[in-house]
């Protein structure tokens, strides 16, 4: 996994409260391989394209956002299905961070697992950022994970919280399974004790 670096990018406002992962990637694309060259088209597919594949009037289709690497969303972003394909669709479009007032729990973990930074700000701050982005399409947000802060189009600084370990993993691009390997001895010891104590379950 690639290490997360400080960066600035055009940010795209997504004014959809409770934007579920079915919107981010419809279920009929879930069996596709990540290597599918069309994968990027599956993100927000049904909001972006009509039945004939013609682009609809949706923020994601606006040329000014073609290179956006940041989304500013609304409450409960990524709720619903556990599909990690939602994050795959985001990374296929170069999205590196989502700023929202709240996240679906499973989607939040899926972001961390794939090097995408979920940033939680208050609903007011997110609404203010989206308003700025709507007023100045193409405006940039700068994100510094190490300092846990971002700079909005208004040049104001917004601090955010993140679990120390999530931050460490993102900054170092670490993979969970490799990390857990270091605990093999502990897992083995726990497992034999646990199974002896709970033989009814095995």
């Amino acid at each position: 996994m690639e290490a997360f670096k400080t960066f600035a990018s055009t940010a795209m406002p997504i004014d959809i409260p409770n934007c579920d992962t079915d919107q981010i990637i419809p279920a009929r694309f879930l069996r596709r391989a990540k290597t599918d060259p069309d994968y990027h088209r599956y993100m927000f597919h049904d909001l972006r394209f009509d039945a004939d594949g013609v682009e609809k009037d949706f923020v994601f289709n606006k040329p000014v956002y073609r290179k956006a690497e940041i989304l500013v969303a609304d409450i409960n972003w990524g709720c619903g299905s556990s599909r990690e394909n939602a994050v795959d669709a985001m990374t296929a479009n170069g999205i590196k961070s989502v700023i929202a007032p709240s996240f679906g729990d499973i989607h939040y973990s899926n972001c961390i697992q794939n090097g995408v930074l979920p940033i939680q700000l208050s609903a007011e701050d997110c609404a203010a950022l989206r308003a700025q982005l709507r007023e100045s399409p193409g405006a940039e947000i700068a994100i510094d994970l190490d300092a846990q802060s971002l700079t909005g189009p208004d040049q104001a600084t917004y601090d955010f919280d993140i679990k120390a370990f999530d931050k460490y993993r993102l900054l170092n691009g670490l993979d969970d399974v490799q990390l857990t390997r270091e605990f093999d001895a502990k897992i083995n010891a726990f497992e034999s004790g646990y199974k002896a104590d709970n033989s009814w379950a095995y």
Partner: protein, 472 residues
């Protein structure tokens, strides 16, 4: 201080704790299905193997047409690949697998409890958000993403952050015609689709205690629709009776040891919850959702809300967009809406009790809308047929299908046409969930059957024998 049911199970599974409080949790049971078929190749590429194949249980559920009985009945393509790769991987890697031709196959969240894979006091995960279902047995169960699925396959563990504790108490007695589905829709309406985010929810109270195991599974199934990864219900005599004799349940002295442990699991009287919510069970009516989030539901006799009366501009816009998408108007009665299709099934409502509830309404009546009845497993199908329920459905002009997820997620060919309106016993009314442009209203099995036989949303209590209602 006393402990909650959740804490008791959690603490028993902690291998180690990191400085930031995250723990490495031991996973007793891992379930998987066909949609993760690509992971087996990735596992190989990364040089990983399945650490405990005996703790991994698989069944195909998403990708089978509900007319297919064997793999050969699935046309070549993605659906076939998903089901066949899962079967081949099971052969190769040695994990449990219930293939399409085995009566024990079905929707993973129906199969787990049915086979005794799900038991009180265990940890169970699956790459599917509705894994919360298994919590109805007092099992700590939650959905995970595919990277986490591979992590569990490789290590039998997961790094987890301890959620906060919420207890939702449903008091009183549910009225006749009111089911677990109506309870959970009322709960989500009250606390919102994000109200449970960051929490593990324990459901309690007299209405939950009086509920069947099937009803409890319906309630826990939709904990995720309130944002909570897991929903739990304390194991009681009903739970113990349900588990007894199941193929993977312990027997003899091991059974006795299990029961002794399970009896220690209910939350202590002095356990403290971070949040407590109470609902009056007597006041819950049959529910119908009207919007594109499960939080937007109405009692069947209520009128559609008016966004103009909503003060929050974002919620106002969301409500207006939902009414527009659903082709509804503020103040409209649900009974004014005619339905095109009725779907009775999904991990929410495809167990034997659900089939019986739908059949009781369908009996002697005729469907006015296309109706698909899809049992949750081969065993549910067999049981329903032994009770003659299949004949009741077919005589009512409904279609009796092979088990699977079917029209809940619409990746098996069962779907709505654009603009079609469905009464559905599934758990998600998201835009396009049942096919692009589909309009989904979530209801209980009895309410779905009532919509089928009247062609519109109808209070199922009006179709029930009056003396039955009085007796309750």
């Amino acid at each position: 201080m006393g402990k909650t049911l959740f804490e008791k199970i959690w603490e028993r599974h902690v291998i180690t704790e990191r400085e930031d409080g995250d723990v490495l949790l031991y996973i007793d049971r891992h379930m998987t299905h066909d949609m993760h078929f690509r992971l087996f190749g990735q596992l190989k590429e990364q040089g990983l193997s399945i650490r405990n194949p005996d703790q991994l249980y698989a069944t195909p559920d998403h990708s089978m047409p509900t007319t297919a009985r064997t793999l050969a009945d699935i046309p070549p393509g993605e659906m076939y690949d998903a089901v066949s790769v899962l079967a081949q991987s099971a052969d190769e890697l040695g994990f449990h697998h219930y293939p399409m031709t085995d009566d024990r196959h079905g929707i993973v969240h129906v199969v787990g409890p049915e086979q005794g894979i799900t038991l009180p006091g265990l940890t169970l995960v699956c790459g599917d958000s509705h894994t919360s279902t298994h919590g109805a047995l007092g099992c700590l169960a939650f959905g995970i993403g595919s990277t986490e699925v591979m992590h569990v396959m490789a290590t039998q563990t997961l790094w987890q952050r301890k959620p906060r504790a919420m207890r939702i108490t449903v008091t009183g007695t549910l009225g006749h015609g009111v089911s677990g589905k109506d309870v959970i829709l009322a709960v989500i309406r009250k606390i919102s689709a994000a109200g449970g985010t960051g929490y593990a929810i324990e459901f309690a109270g007299s209405a939950i205690e009086a509920m069947s195991m099937e009803g409890r599974m319906t309630v826990c199934n939709m904990a995720i629709e309130a944002g909570a990864r897991s929903g739990l219900i304390a194991p009681d005599d009903k739970t113990i009776d349900y588990c007894k004799g199941r193929p993977h349940a312990p027997t003899g002295a091991k059974w006795d040891a299990a029961v002794d442990y399970w009896k220690t699991l209910p939350s202590d009287p002095d356990a403290v919850f971070d949040k407590e919510v109470t609902l009056d069970g007597d006041a819950i009516a049959p529910m119908v959702t009207w919007g594109n989030s499960p939080q937007y539901s109405l009692a069947v006799d209520e009128a559609a809300p008016d966004p103009a009366l909503e003060s929050d501009p974002i919620v106002r816009a969301e409500m207006a967009a939902a009414l527009d998408y659903m082709d509804m108007k503020p103040g409209m009665r649900l009974s004014e809406l005619s339905v095109d299709t009725v779907f009775i099934g999904a991990c929410t409502n495809s167990r034997i009790e659900d089939m019986r509830a739908a059949a009781a309404v369908a009996k002697g009546r005729h469907a006015k809308a296309r109706t698909l009845v899809v049992p949750g497993s081969g065993l549910v199908k067999k049981q329903a047929e032994a009770e003659g329920l299949d004949k009741i459905f077919m005589e009512a002009g409904m279609e009796w299908r092979e088990p699977g997820c079917s029209m809940c997620i619409a990746v098996n060919g069962d779907m709505l046409a654009p603009g079609e309106r469905a009464a559905s016993t599934s758990n998600r009314n998201f835009r396009g969930r049942q096919g692009p442009g589909s309009r989904t209203h979530l209801v209980s099995p009895a309410m779905a059957a009532a919509a089928a036989v009247t062609g519109r949303f109808t209070d199922v209590r009006d179709l029930m024998e009056p003396d039955l209602i009085e007796k309750e």
